[in-house]
């Protein structure tokens, strides 16, 4: 009987909680405040991973626009591209907090759709940012052409290797639609415009720099005549470059990448990337917040905003205005 006491304590706690919750469940509006008059608007920004340079730049754009409009932003990071369940919880919490609008960069487009639809049903406008939820009722979609980025990589890599040879692909994390779209763009363009270039190897496992390095080293053993490597981000591309340099094949194997972080800038300037396909991430962030605020204020909203894709090479990186492509160095969301 004495052994039951700790269990009884625990059970009592749980029961108390259940009762408290059960009673409280009826007053729904106790916390959600509607935006009245001159009250400051609050927009929630739910992103997959605040430790990726891509989302850092996006957060920068959101923050800058919020400052301009005098709007408060509450950020939530799911802690990883695969943490869909966590993101669902975070979106629920943002809704609970009574935000006036939501900007969502989805971990998985399908997984967040049910909760996004609920938010919309509750009257909270939801704007998709780059990684779009699959909801048909999205207030606005702000994105870039990921397929186009893959196409850019295909064109510059194909040209750089002279239109024939073999390439390997660092495709990126499984289950991420942006990675899939870029790969699709790459492969389709190769088929159409560079039929003599063959993809001899492809992996979805090497999604950090060290792993990309190891995989590339092994590829160089397997395919001594390899001509090029496609990388889905500049971080993985940097790993490939390291491996190529260690094997002293910098002239023979070309590397193309997407995204533009400080690492990419260095590598472009040294000519170790043939090109990187960059998107105006900051602009997307700004536009996403703007559309969300417009929707909250019941002002006209643009249903789709597509930001252009930019091809950056050693030649043009100095002249290109990078302010809209990436957050300034040292910025932390």
């Amino acid at each position: 009987m004495r052994r039951l006491r700790p269990t009884a304590v625990a059970a009592a706690c749980v029961a108390l909680m259940a009762v408290a919750v059960g009673c409280g469940a009826s007053n729904d509006d106790s916390n959600s405040s509607s935006s009245g008059g001159g009250k400051q608007l609050t927009v929630g920004f739910s992103m997959p991973d605040s430790s990726e340079s891509f989302w850092v730049s996006m957060a920068y754009g959101v923050q800058q626009e919020a400052k301009k409009l005098g709007v408060k932003v509450v950020k939530a990071s799911a802690g990883g591209d695969a943490n869909a369940n966590q993101q669902i919880s975070q979106i629920q919490d943002l809704m609970q907090r009574g935000v006036d609008g939501l900007v969502v960069g989805a971990t998985d487009a399908n997984a967040v759709t049910p909760v996004v639809n609920q938010a919309i049903a509750q009257g909270i406008p939801v704007v998709g940012a780059s990684s779009l939820p699959n909801s048909k009722k999205l207030t606005s979609s702000v994105f870039t052409d990921n397929v186009g980025m893959g196409t850019i990589e295909a064109k510059c890599l194909g040209n750089a290797i002279g239109g024939k040879g073999s390439v390997a692909m660092l495709v990126g994390p499984a289950g991420q639609i942006w990675a899939d779209l870029r790969a699709k763009g790459f492969k389709d363009t190769l088929k159409k415009e560079f039929p003599n270039v063959k993809v001899v190897a492809s992996t979805r496992l090497a999604d950090n720099r060290n792993a990309a390095l190891t995989t590339t080293q092994n590829w160089l053993q397997r395919f001594p005549a390899l001509n090029g490597i496609y990388s889905v981000t500049d971080d993985t591309g940097a790993g490939a470059v390291d491996a190529i340099q260690a094997a002293h094949k910098a002239g023979q194997v070309k590397v193309s990448a997407s995204n533009f972080s400080p690492a990419a800038r260095q590598l472009l300037q040294k000519g170790l990337f043939t090109c990187t396909a960059a998107q105006q991430i900051v602009t997307q962030g700004e536009q996403a917040l703007l559309q969300a605020v417009n929707a909250a204020k019941k002002q006209p909203v643009k249903a789709t905003v597509v930001t252009p894709v930019v091809k950056l090479t050693k030649q043009n990186v100095a002249q290109t205005n990078l302010a809209k492509l990436q957050a300034p160095a040292g910025f932390t969301p």
Binding site: V21, S51, G80, A84, S89
Partner: protein
């Protein structure tokens, strides 16, 4: 002699203290978030929280069962990935009844783990580490590397977002699982065998407990819990993501440990494990919405795990009367 040990007030105090770790942590975290962002802790938020913790809580209950046997299961995250994929595939192939494929996959993986550990005597670390890779690979293969979306209406949507008597359906399911497992452990012969195996394997074997079948059953229960959690996950996401569950193993072990389950085996209570899970969930959500970076969250979680480990030992030490103090294991 043992009754001598248990009758001391020190022992009882130690028992209660051990149970107290989780509620104390929970109270601190909830209070902190209420203090940081007033209005944060309405009953509505609590309602959300107890629904959101369901996947972690249910798997943590399963994790508790095998930790009691002095093992642990590092594969639960990957098995969750496999289970959600199978659940979604099952629903798409057969209709709502197909959702059992998820729990079936979970149990299958659990049985395999148990076989490796119980029959082939591979250490739990290695067996479940291997299963971690195998299950993830299978999940990716069966799903074709992308999420398996449920065609049409999601029969599990109720589990993800619905309510029963004002409480989130997922929470009710969690309580049900905790009750069933708790009662099975405390009142059935099989449950007692699990405890015996954990606290003293040699003695257990001498009294006729067959370690192989008990271990296989224990890991199968864990697999079943993962499969049930998969139902909740599919309920929320409306799809089976093959990448689901990354990091789940560490989260659930942490929840169990904070909840007073001892890694040296033989001890475990579902009630406090639930609180540990709720604590971890509240950490993740509360800190994020209060504006702390996810990195700070991780640091805090790591420190809490250390504190839980420290407290458990200190409590053990303090609660054991002098004449029973054993030479402690390194």
């Amino acid at each position: 002699m043992i009754s001598d040990l248990r009758n001391t007030s020190r022992w009882r105090a130690g028992q209660i203290a051990q149970v107290a770790v989780a509620p104390v942590c929970l109270a601190i975290s909830l209070y902190t978030f209420f203090w940081i962002s007033p209005g944060e802790l309405s009953t509505n938020n609590l309602e959300h929280l107890i629904g959101q913790m369901a996947p972690i809580a249910i798997v943590a209950i399963g994790q508790m069962v095998v930790i009691i046997t002095r093992g642990f299961d590092l594969s639960v995250g990957s098995v969750a990935g496999l289970s959600v994929v199978m659940t979604a595939l099952g629903i798409n192939w057969i209709g709502p009844a197909g959702m059992v494929l998820g729990p079936i996959a979970g149990v299958a993986c659990g049985l395999f783990n148990g076989f490796l550990i119980g029959r082939l005597h591979i250490q739990p670390v290695i067996a479940t580490l291997g299963m971690l890779s195998i299950a993830r690979g299978l999940a990716l293969i069966f799903s074709g590397d992308s999420a398996v979306v449920i065609d049409g209406d999601n029969p599990l949507n109720f589990l993800g977002y619905g309510h029963i008597a004002g409480l989130p359906a997922a929470f009710v399911l969690t309580i049900a699982v905790a009750l069933v497992v708790g009662i099975a452990l405390a009142r059935t012969r099989g449950g007692r065998r699990v405890f015996m195996l954990g606290s003293n394997p040699e003695a257990a074997e001498l009294t006729g407990v067959r370690p192989a079948s008990t271990l296989i059953a224990a890991y199968a229960v864990t697999g079943l819990c993962v499969g049930i959690a998969a139902l909740v996950l599919v309920g929320r996401a409306g799809a089976g993501l093959p990448t689901e569950g990354q990091g789940l193993e560490l989260q659930t072990i942490a929840a169990a440990v904070i909840g007073g389950v001892s890694l040296t085996g033989g001890v475990g209570r579902p009630g406090t494990v639930l609180m540990g899970a709720l604590f971890i969930q509240s950490l993740a959500n509360g800190l994020t919405l209060a504006g702390y970076s996810p990195f700070v969250q991780e640091i805090i979680l790591g420190v809490v795990i250390l504190i839980a480990g420290l407290t458990e030992r200190v409590i053990r030490r303090v609660a054991t009367p002098r004449r029973f103090k054993e030479v402690s294991h390194a």
